[in-house]
């Protein structure tokens, strides 16, 4: 990628690339973690993730609308927004998993992908039915967060919060998988579902819970981004492929993979924008293709050779 063109002397640019890269990586990670979790456990490449993101964003926008009128303190409003967004995710998760996916477990992986694709198409229009075609600004949290000046550069505090949140999320995920009972349960299922089933783990329950968590994470992604973007139709589509790329780079189903993938893409993109804007469009897919060629299963997943 264009990284080796970084001119060491230009400290500010280097710093900007780093910060922008981190912010973008944070965004990508928050968007991708739910996707990779669901894939890891359920082997479902969940296109509906885009809808979770969109609904989370719309939910958050609605919430912001509420508290902006009620003029609560910003921090409270922020949390209310996140909670509301995730609540939306929770509801959707339950409905989809119990109401639909349950019916297609055990079907061909790709067929399940298409089920989620179909659901995504439907939900796109459901958005119109619920919120109408208009766009929803939800900038209040972004504005009230203010900004910090560093030399010529001005950083938005909200972005800093975003990075912190992503870091927190990564930490939490690590802790949960390592030290909680459910987490270890998940790791077993991710590692080898047959054995897990053999050990009498209630895989169905694990699936339900995982999918709901994944849905909530997807919605959370939308919720935290809502203040930065104009919440409008079609925001889901963009996110899907982006998240797919990150997950494919890091390795499907690998949390640390999603983290590293997000960092790589984030930094590469920032570097591209600062140094060679022309290639910005290719960065993500370029990196993705490159990684897949070298490591077919992504950076953090190895193929287990079949025993005969």
């Amino acid at each position: 990628m264009s990284r080796f063109e970084v001119d060491g002397s230009d400290v500010l640019t280097a710093f900007a690339i780093l910060t922008d890269g981190l912010v973008y990586a944070a965004y990508l990670f928050i968007v991708a973690i739910g996707l990779t979790l669901i894939f890891g456990v359920m082997k479902i490449l969940n296109v509906t993730h885009g809808s979770f993101y969109a609904f989370g964003a719309y939910g958050a926008a609605t919430a912001v609308g509420i508290y902006a009128n009620a003029d609560w303190p910003a921090a409270l409003g922020f949390l209310f927004m996140l909670a509301f967004g995730m609540a939306v995710g929770l509801v959707m998760g339950v409905i989809l998993e119990r109401g639909l996916l349950r019916l297609v477990y055990g079907r061909d992986e790709v067929v399940v992908v298409l089920v989620t694709y179909a659901t995504f198409l439907i939900l796109e229009d459901v958005i119109v039915l619920i919120w109408g075609p208009g766009s929803y600004p939800a900038y209040q949290p972004l504005v009230s967060a203010g900004n910090t000046e560093i030399g010529d550069l001005v950083l938005s505090n909200y972005d800093i919060i975003l990075v912190a949140l992503a870091a927190g999320l990564a930490g939490a995920a690590y802790w949960a998988l390592k030290f909680t009972r459910y987490g270890r349960l998940l790791t077993t299922v991710i590692f080898d579902r047959e054995t897990a089933a053999a050990f009498g783990i209630n895989v169905t329950l694990v699936y339900t819970v995982t999918f709901i968590i994944g849905a909530m994470l997807g919605a959370l992604g939308g919720a935290v981004m809502a203040p930065k973007i104009s919440v409008t139709l079609g925001i889901g589509v963009e996110v899907i492929v982006l998240a797919f790329a990150v997950v494919a780079i890091g390795g499907m189903g690998s949390i640390e993979g999603a983290l590293i993938g997000a960092l790589i893409v984030g930094i590469c993109r920032a570097a591209a924008v600062h140094l060679v804007p022309q290639v910005e469009l290719f960065v993500i897919y370029g990196v993705m293709a490159l990684v897949l060629v070298v490591r077919p299963y992504g950076l953090f997943v190895r193929a287990q050779p079949r025993k005969i």
Binding site: L45, L100, L103, V104, R107, D108, E109, V110, V111, V113, L114, V115, Y117, A118, T119, F120, L121, I122, E124, D125, V126, V128, L129, V237, V241, F244, A245, A248, M252, Q278, L281, F282, Y285, G286, M288, A289, L292, V293, P296, Y297, R306, I308
Partner: protein
Amino acid sequence: MFLIAAAAGPALPDWVVSLTTIAFSNALVVLGLVVLWRAGLVSFGQALYYCIGAYIVALIGRWAGFTDAFALVLLGGVGAGLVAALVGALLARYREIFFAMLSLALSMILYGVLVKTESLGSTDGFSVTTPTFLGFALHGDKLILALYWLTLGIGAVAALAVGTYFRSIAGALAAPIRDNEIRVEFLGVSVTGIIHIKVVIAGVLGGLGGALGALTIGHVDPNMAYWTTSGGFVFVTILAGAGSVAAAFVGSLLFEVIRTIAVDVMPGLWQMVLGSVLLLTILFLPDGLGSLVARLKKRGEARS
């Protein structure tokens, strides 16, 4: 089937004819996906070949001023086939979702390149020069009809060819490869080799479809390589099912009809209609229309 459709051509209103033409050019791409799907492979980047086929036709018309429909379509197929042979060498090493993702990445890269090429109108694309048929320049409904017949002809040939392929060793190995690659290797065949062939066949079909599409639509743009286009093709593949070759054509036709009716009846909500159709197909017709055809066959035999 094709003969009936061909004969019916002149009787049908133009808009039906052109709609069918577009549907059948898509059907070629779908046929390619069926070839892959039988071996358990799905490409989320088939739009790559569709777009290449289309742009080859458009560019030759634009730069070389060469407009013979038949030759152009063949060139589209060959060009896409060559690309498929190239990337196939890489793709053949991948399976399942990874195969899908890599093909997706490749098609998105082409999309990016085309968006970047402002000389070709970027996302606006550019129009395709009206084709000639063996030297005859046709217009209006004659042109539409000619393209319709060309598409039917190529469709029929492709259908026959793919049918024969399915009956060949390489074709018959689809299920075994899906079932048990190791055994296939120990029977003395290179699995990668077989898959490579499948990728190329799918590529050629995709190119042909794109070429015909470009001529019928009269316009090409980078969206032809965008992942949603691929998604649409996979959509139809599921609708049709891998059961029979004919299903690919019937499926595409049905899809176009449903879409156009949906847009007509509920302009704001046609995506929802399509999504529901796909969902219902997967839930209640797991093997797609193909299986329905098969069932009808069985019932027919039962009666006689």
